[in-house]
Subunit: 338 residues, 2 copies
């Protein structure tokens, strides 16, 4: 077999492994909350879990454990804990942001009610703890502490995000701290938990955490780009949603800093306006982004974090060829269209 | 010293012990969330914790541990976990019920915003887990499982409570199941966790759990009575609040069952009316309760559960005189005015 076809086989095996993991996650998610009563509490929670999304976080938990040769029900339980937690945070965030759509489907509070979103969200958070509690007892204190610290960081990140909506002076540094808390730490924790369950050395688990943090930063910046430049057919949310609720994304912060005097004043008027045509606002803001070439600027920033993440991954004490599926997955995330 | 004065001294010591526990709890609560950032997330959460209430649940945790000779920081951490969790549930329940007042103060969502109530409530729930995770590692799996099962039961109870508001055919049995989930299990868990940390035999911990369940049922029935017959000066919430939101309390369920034909029809009209004078509605419903002598009926039911709780406590394998402070506290709860 020549090297080229051998590479192809390895690549096929990787693809296959990720697909197998993804299928297993879908199967396992179906069992979550199964048969719990009252149905009025759990049907909305099951709905959110069932409409999927990328399942990125549980996939990372499985892949991190796999990197250290571990595959087991315990790993899946921890992966589910991360996914259930993620869904809790989406339900409450969507309610707080008053979002209509998630993954192309009506958000929980639109489909049922605000009270449903509050309480079914709470139930998801508690269920996440039930799953994380299934890790081996000797690992429980450390993993539980990581899980709880991560969960609190995500609340803190969401609070900063909401606070920033009321401010015009948010700095790029503040923004990066916010997305680290709101998005990146859960990607890092998903990986680290997988590594810990697989009894990886603590240094390697920490390197995977840092890999995840930087991947998460790149991931969120990509998300912000897609919100403006994504394909409405595949994005699953309304294009320009961040612009409409004055989210202080990197794009907007950089615009407020670098736009010319007249453009900045116009931008500030749009940000404080209470009555306007949504499409007109999106159009105006996007024009400023284009003038400042911010798509390119942010793509470069994404590249920077992506390369930093790969540096951390390269330091993990495992033969490089075993990391290929993680690298492959990361690359797909960077070049994704939704 | 004659027996009478000796009894007096024991009683004084008991009073003293409870006061000391109460002071310690207040001190310890002040340290919760201290210095966490962002303040916009944690000031509302600290507010809820600071306005107090009876601190019944953490007190029960300390007293249960004390029954088995244990007093330590670990017990206090677990007691705080229970109290923090309880405050989380109040914040979200008050938001879902759209309540204006709690313990005589504006509710979190009235003082700040609905989003604050959602997210600061979430932060309290997560912080509760941070505290429960501080129990000794060998006890963590069992205590964590109890904590999570209890937390989920409380969500289930709240969902039943809300579902019942839309129904006219709730049975007494359904009501008792609902208050068991929503209120009694946390009282039981508070006691059992204290006993487990004190390394009590599992049978005794379970008996204390049952003591708490029955005490909790009596406690909630008393709460329902106070909502109608309490003193507006001391109750801390609006008198008749349950009536206004059509809470299916034991009083209302029994009325719908036992009222005469004309009264039942009038009652049903009040329950489905969308525009009315609140005081008139409260007055009408209360008149029916009075006609059916329901204050007396519910007081008897409270007595029944209270006596059942004492039966469980009497079976705990500890000298009876050491149980006097728990009995004393329970009695005060039954005859409380707020």
């Amino acid at each position: 077999m020549n090297p080229k076809s051998s590479f192809f086989l390895v690549w096929m095996a990787m693809k296959h492994k990720i697909s197998v993991f993804e299928e297993r996650i879908e199967e396992a998610v179906k069992g979550v909350l199964k048969g719990y009563e009252p149905r009025t509490l759990f049907i909305p929670a099951e709905y959110v879990l069932s409409i999927g999304g990328k399942r990125l976080r549980p996939l990372l938990t499985l892949m991190a454990a796999d990197l250290f040769g571990k595959e087991s029900d315990e790993v899946m339980d921890a992966a589910l804990a991360v996914e259930i937690f993620h869904n809790f945070s989406l339900v409450h965030d969507d309610l707080m942001d008053n979002a209509d759509l998630r993954r192309g489907y009506p958000t929980l509070h639109k489909r049922w009610s605000e009270n449903s979103a509050i309480l079914s969200g709470d139930a998801l958070l508690i269920e996440a703890y039930r799953y994380i509690a299934k890790v081996p007892a000797d690992l429980l204190p450390d993993i539980l502490a990581l899980f709880t610290t991560t969960a609190m960081h995500i609340c803190e990140g969401q609070q900063y995000d909401m606070d920033f909506e009321q401010r015009l002076d948010v700095t790029e540094e503040e923004y990066l701290k916010m997305i680290r808390l709101k998005t990146a730490v859960l990607i890092g924790a998903a990986l680290k938990i997988g590594a810990l369950i697989a009894r990886a050395p603590v240094e390697d688990a920490d390197l995977l955490y840092q890999f995840g943090i930087h991947l998460g930063l790149a991931f969120q910046l990509k998300d912000d780009l897609l919100d403006v430049y994504g394909n409405p057919e595949t994005f699953g949310k309304k294009i320009g949603g961040d612009i409409l609720c004055n989210k202080k994304t990197f794009l907007l912060i950089r615009s407020l800093k670098n736009a010319g005097h007249a453009e900045r004043e116009a931008l500030q008027r749009w940000l404080t306006a209470t009555e306007y045509d949504p499409d007109e606002k999106i159009g105006f803001v996007k024009k400023i982004y284009d003038q400042l070439n911010l798509k390119f600027v942010v793509e470069n920033l994404i590249e920077k974090y992506y390369l930093a993440s790969l540096d951390f991954l390269s330091l993990v004490n495992i033969p490089d060829h075993q990391k290929r599926d993680l690298i492959n997955l990361s690359e797909n995330l960077m070049y994704r269209e939704k």
